[in-house]
């Protein structure tokens, strides 16, 4: 639970950083011939809406890149602003409070004016209001006699667990404290996990959305917002102003199509019936007769092909990052190891890199490198640098000085000393550093899914959003296997490159 809390705290930190860095970003021109990138946030409903938009465009012959499961409003909004994402579904209340904070109640017209100045257009709402709400177990609420938010605020010994975004929003927990006079402490946790926690009785109440498909599953009731505090959250597609008008027209077909009950139903099909987002989106579009072509109905793709695809992407991310790490780290270590100051300085910098939480680093890169694979690879590269650099420097420094002297004394040039004595002697240590870097990369690459880089983190992120352990395991197990296989491959490599008596710890005295 602490890990989840920390993860969410990091997400918050990175959102803040993004605001600071947003000035550096530039918008990109759109081009009708290219693929459109559709984004989604990392919760059930937003995945479904993202999938609906994607399939609708694909049905009309457009190519769509799905960048789903992005974490935090600022991450995805920034991606839209910089043109990394062409469209995603946002909520009116979120727009007002998060994107234009402290400007009081904004009318839709005011909001649109703000958006236009950023090169963004909000289309008409899908029709439903997915507002924030506070949810409790039905029987527990009855026991306490709590039906309204005011009555909850009056309870003394209650434990509250909220999603971190809610915890820190003026229209969330902060506003509840102000308006309802809550004095209780609240902890931050992943939204999906909060339902499990409330089911287990660990917490008494959590934030929920009025369209949550699993309110029913967990037998939760929504407390009446008796002071009318929560703002309205109508789901609206946000698009780039200069998007192909044809695309805009296609998306307009979705206006007013989904009311709250419909959305709860669609959410439930994923949460309760275990269907994929693609299946539910396809069912919806078929039911609404929005498909032009009959062939495009989607059936669930097999688990194995998903795992295979995700593993390929995961390998791609780590192999490119690790190669870059070796390409930079190994020569750099060889160049600087003789200078104590330089190597200490470089190790310090590389160590500093390592201490930047992965998610924060990933988010920092969005304004510079956008979203997707590029920032993920750069972050993984930076993380691999420290173990590679450190092992190279240490390996070269710990070579027996008698051998260094002998190599120098028999008349070898600097390069010959390096090539025929220092590098072969350093190799076992260097290899184990590269192995460490590889394994760190495989683990860290799962976080890349938060910025739309894909890989084995994708089922994990989605699984967290859906509170679906199977899905989480579909990412976690292959990632663990990859780490183990990598370890074994490095052992094989070591045996091929290093003679047995040269392995670490077995140097003759």
């Amino acid at each position: 639970m602490l890990r989840i809390y920390l993860t969410n705290a990091l997400l918050l930190a990175l959102s803040t950083l993004l605001v600071l860095f947003s000035g550096a970003a530039s918008s990109q021109a759109t081009d009708s011939s290219r693929a459109y990138t559709i984004g989604s946030k990392n919760f059930n409903e937003n995945y479904i809406l993202g999938e609906i938009i994607s399939q609708l465009l694909e049905d009309s012959g457009f190519t769509v890149d799905r960048n789903f499961g992005m974490s935090g409003t600022m991450v995805i909004y920034e991606a839209l602003r910089t043109g990394e994402v062409d469209a995603y579904v946002e909520y009116s209340g979120t727009l007002a409070e998060v994107i234009f904070p402290g400007e009081g109640d904004s009318t839709p017209a005011e909001l649109n004016q703000h958006l236009q100045s950023e090169g963004i257009e909000a289309l008409q709402s899908f029709g439903f209001n997915n507002t924030y709400a506070l949810a409790m177990k039905r029987d527990h609420a009855a026991d306490l006699g709590v039906e309204t938010v005011s009555e909850l605020a009056a309870q003394e010994n209650i434990d509250l667990g909220f999603s971190v975004e809610f915890l820190n929003r003026a229209d969330g927990w902060l506003g509840l404290i102000e308006n309802y006079g809550f004095t209780q402490q609240a902890i931050g946790m992943d939204h999906g996990l909060a339902y499990q926690a409330i089911d287990a009785g660990t917490i008494d109440a959590t934030d929920a959305y009025s369209t949550d498909g699993d309110l029913e599953l967990f037998d939760l009731i929504i407390l009446r917002d008796d002071l009318n505090f929560f703002p309205q959250y109508y789901a609206v597609p946000l698009i780039h102003q200069n998007l192909d008008p044809q695309v805009k027209n296609i998306l307009r077909q979705l206006e007013g199509r989904i009311d709250e009950e419909r959305m709860r139903d669609l959410n439930g099909r994923v949460m309760l019936d275990g269907k994929s987002f693609a299946e539910v989106a396809s069912e919806f579009l078929t039911e609404e007769k929005l498909f032009i072509q009959t062939t495009s109905a989607v059936t669930g793709s097999s688990i194995w092909s998903n795992i295979y695809q995700n593993t390929l992407v995961h390998l791609q991310l780590t192999i490119i990052a690790l190669s870059l790490g070796c390409l930079v780290g190994l020569p750099l270590g060889v160049i600087i190891y003789r200078s104590k100051k330089l190597s200490r300085g470089m190790l310090y910098v590389a160590g500093l890199m390592q201490t930047i939480p992965s998610l924060a680093l990933l988010a920092l890169f969005i304004p510079i490198f956008g979203i997707g694979k590029t920032p993920a690879i750069i972050a993984l590269f930076l993380y691999s640098l420290l173990p590679i650099l450190r092992s190279t420097i240490t390996a070269l420094l710990t070579i027996d000085p008698v051998l260094k002297r002998a190599a120098e004394a028999i008349g070898m040039t600097r390069f010959q000393q390096l090539r025929f004595v220092l590098v072969p002697l350093a190799l076992p240590n260097v290899l184990s550093g590269v192995k460490t870097a590889a394994i760190i990369s495989i683990g860290t690459a799962t976080l890349a899914a938060f910025i739309g880089a894909g890989g084995l983190g994708e089922p994990i992120v989605t699984g967290l959003a859906l509170n679906n352990t199977d899905l989480i395991l579909q990412g976690a197990i292959p990632a663990a296997c990859l780490a183990i296989i990598t370890e074994m491959l490095f052992d094989v490599l070591e045996r091929a490159l290093v003679k047995p008596h040269m392995l670490v710890g077995q140097l003759p005295s």
């Binding site: 008698v402 051998l403 002998a406 004394a409 008349g411 070898m412 025929f420 002697l425 008596h501 003759p508």
Partner: protein, 244 residues
């Protein structure tokens, strides 16, 4: 006295605040074996390493073959200087053959020249040719030290620097290598500088002895000179503990 091979001119070397060699001047003659004798910390290894540029003095000048040593020229000069250290200093990742012949191969010697020189050296130090593919860790201390001497002599250098090469060996092995070394001296005259703390060894192998004490020359002369007229208690002590 014969020509000077190594010339030290008022050299000083210190590590941190500790002065190892203090304003020392010395000529080491060509074609004979000179032993530098002294207790641990007397500066004898440092003095030796100045002769092949592993240690550069902060004051003074060292010349070999009448050419002053500097960081650039020393690389070429080292090909004319064989060097062997205590513990052999063999490269653990290379076989006996490759340890000995590495530099010859880097200098593009012809294969048959390498092979015949290698075989000659093995024979000289009574090493079994079957050892050639083996790695240093699998050799005895005596074998390692012999291989180290082979490596030092591979390029047939006119100058041989030996830094306590026999100190780590057991007495029996040491005796055997001593006699091999004397046989070598009988075959060819080569300028050799032997650093040792063992006065007995110095007397046995060298024609000239230099006694070093705290970075200065305590006494210099032929073996007989020093044995008959020790300059100080220190020199006498070296004789007494030297085992002879």
């Amino acid at each position: 006295m014969a020509n000077s091979c190594i010339k030290y001119e008022v050299v000083t070397k210190s590590y941190g605040k500790k002065i190892i060699i203090k304003e020392l001047s010395l000529d080491i003659p060509a074609d004979i074996t000179t032993a530098i004798v002294g207790e641990s910390g007397s500066g004898k290894s440092t003095l030796l390493q100045m002769a092949n540029g592993l240690v550069i003095p902060e004051k003074g000048q060292v010349s070999i073959f009448s050419k002053p040593i500097n960081k650039v020229s020393i690389r070429e000069q080292r090909l004319k200087i064989g060097y062997s250290v205590q513990g052999a200093g063999l490269f653990p990742h290379l076989s006996v053959l490759h340890n000995v012949t590495l530099m010859a191969r880097l200098l593009d010697w012809a294969d048959d020249a390498i092979q015949s020189r290698f075989e000659y050296l093995l024979d000289l130090f009574e090493l079994d040719p079957e050892l050639s593919p083996r790695y240093p860790y699998s050799l005895s201390g005596g074998q390692q030290q012999r291989v180290s001497l082979c490596r030092a002599m591979m390029l047939n250098p006119p100058l041989l620097l030996l830094d306590e090469p026999f100190s780590a060996l057991d007495p029996v092995t040491r005796e055997i290598i001593h006699s091999e070394f004397l046989r070598l001296q009988a075959i060819e005259s080569r300028t050799t500088v032997l650093v040792t703390h063992d006065m007995g060894e110095a007397m046995k192998l060298a024609q000239q002895v230099i006694v070093l004490y705290e970075g200065r020359i305590e006494q210099q002369g032929s073996v007989e000179d020093i044995q008959n007229n020790p300059a100080s208690d220190y020199v006498e002590t070296l004789f007494r503990v030297g085992g002879n």
